[in-house]
Symmetry: C2
Subunit: 141 residues, 2 copies
C-alpha cells in the first residue's frame, strides 16, 4: 500500500468502529494532541481524552441503533509525514428492526501526521452548511 492507501484505510476504521460502537478502536485513529472542530455544540475539543469523552457520549446515545457511515468524494493529499483528507460523510442510523431512522450528511476535513510509521488524525473538522437567511443548519444534501 502507498501512503494515500494507508490514509484512506482509516476511513474504513472510522466506519467499522462507529458501527461497532467500539470507542477503543475508534480512538486508535487520533493523535494524543488532536484538535477537533466538531459540528455540534462546542467551538473545539482539544486532546484525545476529551475527544474520547465526546465519542463515548455519541455511541452511548445510540441505544440499540447502529450507525452506518459512508464516505463520498474522498480526496487525499500526502506530503512527507503530513496528509489531508476531504470528503462528504453520510451518517445513517438503523433501528434494531433494520429501519433507517435518521440520515444526515457532514463535510469532513482531516489532517494527519505519521509518527512511528502510523498515520494518526491531528485535526478533524466536521460541519454542515448554514442557511444564511434563517441561521439553521442544513443536514440533507
Amino acid at each position: 500500500m502507498n501512503d494515500s492507501d494507508d490514509v484512506r484505510a482509516l476511513l474504513a476504521v472510522y466506519s467499522e468502529a462507529a458501527h461497532a460502537k467500539d470507542v477503543d478502536r475508534f480512538m486508535t485513529m487520533y493523535a494524543p494532541g488532536v484538535r477537533v472542530f466538531d459540528l455540534w455544540g462546542r467551538w473545539e475539543v482539544v486532546g484525545a481524552s476529551a475527544w474520547r469523552e465526546s465519542i463515548t457520549g455519541w455511541f452511548g446515545s445510540l441505544d440499540d441503533d447502529r450507525v452506518v457511515v459512508d464516505f463520498e468524494g474522498v480526496e487525499v493529499s500526502v506530503g512527507g509525514d503530513l496528509a489531508a483528507v476531504t470528503a462528504m460523510v453520510g451518517y445513517s442510523a438503523d433501528s434494531p428492526a433494520g429501519e433507517r431512522i435518521r440520515q444526515m450528511t457532514n463535510r469532513l476535513t482531516w489532517v494527519l501526521e505519521r509518527a512511528d510509521d502510523m498515520w494518526r488524525v491531528t485535526h478533524e473538522h466536521t460541519s454542515a452548511p448554514v442557511d444564511d437567511a434563517t441561521g439553521a443548519v442544513i443536514l440533507a444534501r
Copy 2:
C-alpha cells in the same frame, strides 16, 4: 522565513485583501482546483473561478462597510510540499463612521500545497458549531 512563516504570511494576505475588498489579491491565495467547504449555503465550491464569484459577492455585499479579520489560536503543520493551518477567525464589520456593526467567529482549516515555490490553499473549510437542541448556528464565541 521558514515554510511555517511563509504559510502564516497568507493569513495576513487574507486579512488585508478582505479589508481592501481586493478580489484579485484575495484570489492569489488559492490554487486553481481549490475545494471550499464554506459556512454559508452550499455543501462545497470547487475551483478558483467559482470561489472568485463567491468572494466577489461577499465583498459586493459590504457596501461602505469594512471587514476586519483577526486570527486566534493559529496552528501550522508542514510536511514536504503540503501544509495545514487551523485557527479561529473573527470577522467584524465597521461602518464608515467607525462603528462596529457586526461580529462573528468561524473555525478555519486550510490545506495548502507548494508549487513553483508558492504556497496556495487547495482546501478551505470554515464553519461554526450548531446547537444540537435547536439546529441554530452559534456565531458568538
